[in-house]
């Protein structure tokens, strides 16, 4: 089967992405969207921020353009740049400009990873002006009511270098995400993967053990995403201890002793 190639602004999510709401984040996002306010999603990695965005894009019936930010991401990567084509320079829109033009939801994932000068270009879009200046072509694009800007950020990194500037963060409606409580998290795992509830409960228990180790040997505990990975492996017939090791322990640490300790924890559970 050949996979389809679509332009990001033409890609609408058709099937409802599974998302289990923890609080009133869906209502708040909708309200912010209706009032043309940009949204900031805070929370540890793998707790469902990106899935939430997919779900909202489906709900609001808008295309979702996601940019995963990295430390080499420049302003032109977002806005656009001149490229050479047949000996001429041609302007090509970046993902941010595309979203503004087409009224899409633009989601800048892990915004703190981007270079500091990059975050500044979203400022005019994120306040009541809602415009994107494109200095290089001498244009200003006005955002339509459908356009929505969302950024995500993980406050857990706690690095001075990777903190969001006040001037940026104070433009956003902030939604805080965290790992769901035990019962809900195990329900999510069951729904996502189809494993039995008992195994899901044990996986959640294991996740809590690793989260307790945060700060005493681990930088971050196991995320819901990793639990889903492990559960999928278990569903395929891999033994739970091996699944925890490959999908969780190996993913969160390289420290040999820590890995053994986590193996001891998982083998105590399963």
């Amino acid at each position: 089967m050949q996979s389809k190639a679509l332009k990001p602004e033409e890609y609408f999510i058709e099937d409802e992405p599974y998302y289990q709401s923890i609080g009133d984040e869906i209502a708040i996002f909708e309200a912010a969207y209706n009032q043309s306010l940009p949204v900031l999603l805070k929370g540890p990695t793998g707790c469902g921020k990106t899935r939430f965005m997919e779900h909202m894009a489906w709900r609001l019936k808008r295309p979702l353009i996601t940019v995963s930010c990295h430390d080499d991401l420049t302003a032109s990567d977002l806005v656009g740049r001149f490229l050479i084509s047949g000996g001429e320079t041609v302007w090509v829109d970046g993902p941010l400009a595309r979203s503004v033009r087409n009224g899409a939801i633009c989601y800048l994932d892990e915004i703190v990873e981007a270079r500091k000068d990059t975050t500044v270009v979203i400022h005019p879009l994120a306040d009541d002006r809602r415009v994107l200046p494109m200095e290089k072509v001498g244009e200003i694009i006005e955002a339509t009511a459908e356009f929505c800007l969302a950024i995500s950020y993980n406050p857990g990194y706690q690095s001075v270098m990777k903190d969001l500037k006040q001037s940026t963060r104070q433009r956003f409606v902030a939604l805080e995400f965290d790992y769901p409580d035990a019962a809900l998290e195990s329900e999510i795992i069951v729904k996502e993967t189809g494993i039995d509830a008992a195994t899901a409960n044990l996986l959640v228990k294991f996740a809590h053990m690793t989260r307790d180790l945060k700060g005493s040997g681990l930088d971050e505990g196991a995320s819901t995403r990793l639990l889903v990975h492990a559960a999928k492996l278990i569903h395929e017939g891999i033994s739970p201890v091996v699944a925890c090791e490959t999908a969780i322990s190996q993913a969160i640490t390289d420290d040999a002793d820590m890995m053994v300790a986590m193996h001891e924890l998982s083998s105590s559970l399963f």
Partner: protein
């Protein structure tokens, strides 16, 4: 062709030197007779070790030589060497007699070596056991070695025997450790210590009562573990089979209702208490390999201390919360609101079904839910583990001055006071030292203490800055240029903008029929410096006078210019006398700003005693390992060879320093030495390597050179 074996005379000749027979009057003949019968390789092996041990003590070496053949029959060479080194380590720590005991008691060592080979050693396993324990929920517990070889807990620390060698395989012995940790954790977590032991044991036969409680609690706790950690429970059953404990562990038939009740999900200590009366003496079940013992006296001491302490901390935290809430609700933000014991919090549980823990508990004050800070959550967890709930008397906020927190703080000795005490190792850090003759470390040999320098606010800094006005100006200029700035990179494959020059060129290329390059963009590249540097300044007595002054001036200039670069830097002075008094003077730590106080400290750097270097380099390595930086630089400013009052001079000092530098290098640190010792060219290349030092001939040049060298090293 194998080399010929040494003759009796040749061996005597060597041993006489090692044993220093002229002074010690040791008779080498007996030892030589044993050695002469061996092959050349064995002879060499024994003689080499004799020589190394003799560097520590001649008598010890002699005893070793007498026993060496017997040792080689019993163990492989690797173990024999370890045996010899255990003896020298013992000599370092306890003296000659215990060291001799190690050598003479060879059989015991061989026996232990066997245990060590298959047994699990706590020291090695603790790096796994501790995170395992902390991953189990509840109070943050510690693990320590028990002194009497039993496993027990005092409710804050789990004590385990140093070695477990009950089973044949080390894997199983580790499992015994793991099971002990989990079982003792279960005792704490599931409320064994909430039992009213005083009441229970107040009778004619407390021993039998204690056995009863232990038996019943074991049933209950094993059921808890079966529920919480089913995988481990299976392992525990397997252990019992292997140790033969499973036969002894079968309960009488008429106990069925007891085991059923105690294994139920909602079983608690009340059930244990209820059954106390109904079981008889014969039915006691001996504890199995991982059950450990109950040490109630220790538990009582630790528990009562903790309960009092945590109550104080919790109530103070409540009073803080109440104050915050009052402040928030009142308009006058300047006035500190008063809170006393009449402010009472309520506890609400989010979900009645779930077990209470810090995650399901909510604090309520006058109908308003209070956010619980993380450190308070930990307190709540610990309190619930002790009481099974939060007792009502804990919920009164502390009144002003009700508690004196100093009482609960762990007493840390003031480093300055420690010298006056009899036991000078207290409150200090211990470091190994390399003995090149022994080819082995002296363990925990040097006692290092970090001391403060009182700032002296005189005019030294101003004078120094004024004196080097011109130099400073040019240094500033050079360092400005160095500062990481945006660089426009041309002809890039990807970039922010079109490189017009490249484009024109490419266009011309296309027209002339050549292939067009794809390097057509310009890109801003930001060079970020990620340098951390520690300056280690010699404060030995020999720097007295103008060397000290030059050192201080250099530091002032350096600080001024490093500020421009924004590099992280720290400055420490070092000096000391003998291994028991290595003093490190903190002038500037990494996280301190360069301000007037630091200037004052630099101004007050004074010559002290001797230069023992290895220990300080090892300490700096540890400091470096705590921070992240892509370049780590350790610059020593010194005026001579490592030299101390005791044996730390000549080759010994140089070799230890070299070893310490090697350790630093292994951890990704670049050591560099700046010295004014003209003879340094003889020993520095050996210590630091050919390119990692500078000798400055003229002290007056030190300030200029130090900054210069720093610039060169970091670009």
């Amino acid at each position: 062709m194998p080399r010929p074996a040494l003759t009796f005379e040749e061996i005597i000749e060597r041993l006489d030197v090692y044993f220093d027979v002229e002074f010690t009057f040791i008779k080498s003949e007996q030892a030589a007779e044993l050695i002469v019968q061996q092959t050349r390789t064995t002879q060499d092996f024994i003689l080499d070790l004799s020589k190394r041990i003799a560097a520590t003590n001649e008598e010890l070496s002699f005893q070793f030589t007498l026993n060496a053949i017997r040792a080689l029959d019993a163990m492989d060479r690797h173990m024999v060497e370890a045996w010899a080194m255990t003896a020298t380590d013992n000599y370092d720590r306890k003296g000659l007699t215990p060291a001799m005991t190690v050598i003479r008691d060879l059989d015991n060592y061989v026996h232990n070596a066997h245990i060590n080979a298959c047994g699990a050693i706590l020291e090695e396993e603790i790096s796994v056991l501790l995170p395992f324990l902390q991953g189990l929920s509840g109070r943050k517990l510690k693990i320590a070695e028990s002194e009497d070889n039993t496993a027990y807990t005092d409710t804050e620390t789990i004590y385990l025997p140093a070695i477990t060698a009950l089973l044949e395989e080390s894997k199983d012995n580790f499992l015994i450790y793991k099971a002990s940790v989990a079982f003792l954790w279960a005792q704490i977590q599931f409320g064994t210590f909430r039992l009213p032991f005083e009441e229970i044991l107040e009778c004619d036969d407390p021993d039998s009562q204690l056995k009863k409680v232990t038996t019943l609690e074991t049933i209950r706790l094993e059921a808890c573990i079966k529920r919480e950690l089913p995988g481990l429970y299976r392992d525990m059953q397997m252990l019992k089979k292997k140790t033969g404990d499973d036969q002894e562990h079968s309960y009488p038939d008429n106990w069925q209702h007891i085991t059923e009740r105690l294994s139920a999900d909602d079983a608690g200590i009340e059930d244990t208490l209820n059954f106390m009366a109904s079981i008889d003496e014969e039915a006691y079940v001996a504890p199995c390999c991982y059950h450990g013992t109950l040490k109630l006296d220790q538990v009582t001491v630790v528990m009562s201390k903790r309960i009092e302490k945590e109550k104080a901390y919790f109530r103070i935290a409540l009073s803080e919360l109440a104050k915050e809430s009052l402040k928030k609700n009142s308009d006058e933000t300047d006035i500190e609101p008063e809170v006393d014991a009449s402010t009472i919090f309520n506890i609400k549980t989010k979900d009645e079904q779930q077990q209470i823990n810090s995650g399901t508990i909510e604090l309520e004050l006058e109908g308003e839910l209070m956010p619980i800070p993380d450190h308070v959550k930990e307190l709540i967890t610990s309190i619930i583990v002790d009481f099974g709930e939060i007792p009502p008397e804990h919920l009164h906020a502390a009144g002003p001055g009700e508690y004196d927190l100093k009482k609960y703080e762990d007493e840390m000795p003031n480093p300055d006071d420690v010298w006056q005490g009899t036991y000078h190792v207290e409150g200090a850090e211990l470091y190994n030292e390399w003995n090149f003759k022994r080819q082995h470390y002296h363990k925990n040999w040097c006692v290092l203490r970090e001391l403060e320098i009182e700032p002296e606010y005189d005019d030294f800094v101003d004078r120094a800055l004024d004196k080097h006005k011109g130099l400073l100006k040019s240094l500033r200029h050079t360092f400005e240029i160095l500062r990481g700035e945006d660089k426009l990179l041309k002809k890039q494959v990807h970039g922010d903008d079109v490189d017009i020059d490249a484009l024109v060129e490419a266009y011309a290329d296309v027209k002339s029929g050549m292939e067009m390059t794809d390097r057509l963009f310009t890109k801003m590249h930001k060079e970020e410096r990620n340098v951390a540097v520690i300056f280690m300044v010699d404060m030995s007595g020999s720097t007295k006078g103008w060397i000290n002054e030059a050192e201080r001036e250099s530091l002032i200039l350096l600080c001024e210019v490093i500020q421009i670069l924004g590099d992280r830097f720290a400055i420490y002075g070092f000096s000391g006398m003998t291994r028991t008094r290595c003093e490190l003077f903190k002038i500037k730590a990494f996280d301190e700003e360069y301000d007037d106080e630091i200037k004052g400290r630099i101004s007050n750097i004074q010559p002290k005693d001797y230069t023992r270097m290895g220990v300080f380099i090892r300490h700096m390595t540890r400091l470096f390992n705590e921070i992240e930086a892509s370049t780590k630089l350790l610059i020593t400013i010194s005026d001579g060879k490592p030299d101390d009052y005791d044996t730390y001079r000549g080759e010994y000092g140089v070799e230890d320093t070299r070893q310490a530098l090697y350790e630093a290098h292994r951890d990704g640190i670049h050591p560099y030495c700046i010295t004014i010792d003209e003879e340094a060219r003889e020993y520095l290349p050996h210590m630091y390597g050919a390119a990692n030092y500078s000798v400055i001939d003229d002290v007056a040049q030190l300030p200029r050179k130090v900054s210069d060298i720093y610039r060169r090293l970091t670009t």
